[in-house]
């Protein structure tokens, strides 16, 4: 298995990183939070112009036809820069879900083209998430009714806002009535599609958590290199170094787990769900530790509104339980490795092609 990224994938990551570094600085994000909708159409349009929304749309629908592996890099960038917009829900999770719909769904190709252009916003209401992110702004929301898939336009849903610990998130409780006109797939067709959407959503969150972990580590390293005590930068003290070295090693060990999960999903491997749950757990652990040690090395200041660390820390706490919490993913891992036919042992680990 080759985990190295192609030049294209790395070039894409660099390009998006450079773009977000300039366009989504923390002060710009704080301004966006203050708006009523909590979202910036301007930033979203610019992200679409960069081609981010077209990334995994098939080429025949005007996209770039890339897969889950490149998204494992892009979601890290979205996390690193703390992008509040649920862009990955539209461009990654919904795009995969819609592409998996039967060709007979009349709007399927039109929706894919609109996602690629960046002219549509789609929210996803999977049963694993009790609340739907950005449903108040979505042109339509993909919802589950007893396994069926419904594409419900904004006019047919009522939303009730629900506060999040991360004030940049906009979560909604969605009230709606299923009907034949909104159904785009029956329960039998919908089951594997919902399963894949769950995997993609969890993978997207895992990538964002890893990006958040790296950001919090970078902020902490910058801080401890500047803050002086006893005449020296506090980063020169071993106890502080160890805190951050622990975070760095957690991040490094979570990366291959994330990349393997993305590879498994992209190549339709049988144990993709297991790998994705492992990635969600590993990346959440890295981000959680980065948040905890980040606050420690910043002193009490790390929790304050004025210090940017809190933006990324609260996003971490919110995302940890998004698209399945720790218990949910550990249960999936447990079910996979304790199954009677679990592919375990050295022959399964090293002998696979």
């Amino acid at each position: 298995m080759d985990f190295t990224f192609t030049d294209d994938e790395r070039a894409f990551q660099d390009a998006i990183s450079r773009f977000l570094m300039t366009e989504a600085a923390p002060e710009a994000l704080r301004e966006i939070w203050e708006t009523d909708a909590g979202r910036s159409p301007d930033l979203r349009n610019k992200m679409a112009e960069q081609g981010l929304t077209a990334l995994s749309i098939p080429e025949e629908a005007g996209g770039l036809g890339m897969g889950d592996v490149v998204w494992s890099l892009m979601t890290q960038e979205l996390g690193y820069y703390g992008i509040p917009d649920s862009l990955a829900d539209t461009a990654y999770v919904s795009a995969g879900l819609i592409a998996a719909l039967p060709e007979t769904v009349a709007d399927r190709n039109g929706w894919l083209e609109q996602i690629a252009e960046g002219s549509i916003r789609i929210a996803v209401g999977h049963p694993v998430n009790p609340l739907v992110a950005d449903a108040h702004l979505a042109d339509f929301t993909l919802l589950n009714h007893e396994g069926e898939i419904h594409a419900v336009p904004r006019s047919l849903i009522d939303v009730e806002h629900n506060a999040s610990i991360d004030s940049s998130r906009r979560l909604c409780r969605v009230m709606w009535e299923p009907s034949n006109s909104t159904r785009v797939a029956d329960a039998e067709t919908g089951a594997p599609i919902w399963e894949e959407a769950l995997n993609r959503g969890a993978l997207s969150v895992a990538g964002q958590l890893l990006g958040l972990a790296q950001r919090m580590l970078d902020l902490s390293v910058d801080y401890v290199a500047q803050r002086k005590q006893f005449g020296k930068p506090i980063g020169s003290f071993q106890a502080v170094k160890h805190h951050l070295a622990d975070v760095a090693s957690k991040i490094e060990f979570a990366k291959p787990v994330l990349y393997r999960a993305a590879y498994s999903l992209q190549h339709g491997q049988a144990d993709a769900a297991l790998h994705i749950s492992q990635a969600h757990v590993a990346c959440a652990e890295a981000a959680h530790l980065a948040a905890r040690h980040g606050i420690q090395v910043h002193g009490a200041m790390g929790y304050t509104w004025e210090v940017d660390l809190q933006m990324f820390m609260k996003r971490t706490w919110a995302l940890e339980s998004s698209w399945g919490d720790r218990a949910f993913h550990k249960a999936r891992i447990s079910a996979a490795i304790f199954a009677d036919d679990a592919p375990l042992g050295p022959g399964q680990t090293f002998g696979r092609s």
């Binding site: 294209d8 070039a11 894409f12 390009a15 998006i16 450079r18 773009f19 570094m21 112009e49 960069q50 081609g51 981010l52 077209a54 990334l55 770039l64 002086k228």
Partner: protein
């Protein structure tokens, strides 16, 4: 009208530059490299001329090791049409760069050559001027506005006293200042398209230029570290320090 843009691979402007421990040079090991920001402005200006229908082709040239093809590809992703790399083992000094570019200009016959006013690594601010002298072409340096009008180009320059506008006969050399434009980002579809654009590799020998060294790097030292501030107990003490230590106030 053909436009030639020269671009340089430099340390990314976000990277904190470190000096090698033996002070022989800056440390480039594992450092992120990028397109020189002034060169990016030059590419953007050329692409805008093309989008406005003034330019018909934008050719990008870079000089350096194979890795500088990355920066040529970036320029192609920003909208340039084709690239030329002149392969050298090291980054040659300004006069050599100007001589190589002069040969490219003779071969390509562009009407306009746009360069960054300087690279952010060496800060020499020499190449554009040397190229103008070697080719005996008019030059508009530190441009903050470029307008092509018929067989002339009007270049507004940022000078100490304000703005100066020159009308240059084409072909001409223009070097860009910071405020000329705000470069676009390379979009993902354009990065893909850039891979298919032609990139020609040449050597100084192909161009008949012998690279000679006219300067020798003796020593590189980092800037002095800023000292921590101190708290003074009274205005009198502050005034005393400003007079006698900082020497920014005269006695009286």
């Amino acid at each position: 009208m053909k436009v030639l843009v020269a671009v340089k691979r430099v340390i990314d402007y976000n990277v904190k530059v470190r000096v090698k421990s033996d002070h022989t040079d800056v440390d480039l090991a594992n450092v992120k490299m990028a397109l020189n920001p002034f060169c990016e402005i030059a590419v953007e200006e050329a692409v805008r001329l093309k989008e406005a229908g003034t330019a018909s082709e934008v050719v990008v040239v870079s000089i350096g090791p194979k890795a500088c093809q990355e920066q040529i590809r970036t320029a192609l992703a920003l909208g340039a049409d084709r690239g030329i790399q002149i392969e050298t083992d090291t980054m040659p000094e300004s006069l050599n760069v100007a001589k190589l570019l002069a040969k490219v200009v003779e071969a390509e016959q562009p009407q306009l050559v746009i360069l960054g006013k300087q690279s952010i690594d060496a800060d020499n601010n020499q190449t554009g001027q040397m190229l103008g002298a070697l080719l005996d072409l008019p030059q508009g340096t530190f441009a903050s506005d470029v307008k092509v009008a018929g067989d002339k180009v009007n270049v507004t320059r940022e000078v100490d006293g304000g703005l100066q506008t020159l009308a240059l006969n084409l072909p001409a050399i223009v070097t860009t200042d910071l405020r000329l434009n705000e470069p676009r980002y390379a979009s993902l579809p354009n990065i893909m398209k850039a891979k298919k654009k032609p990139l020609e590799v040449k050597t100084p020998t192909d161009l008949g230029v012998e690279l000679k060294s006219h300067t020798r790097l003796l020593n590189v030292t980092p800037p002095a570290e800023r000292q921590a501030g101190i708290r003074v107990s009274s205005v009198d003490e502050l005034v005393d320090k400003l007079k006698n230590e900082a020497k920014v106030l005269r006695g009286g």
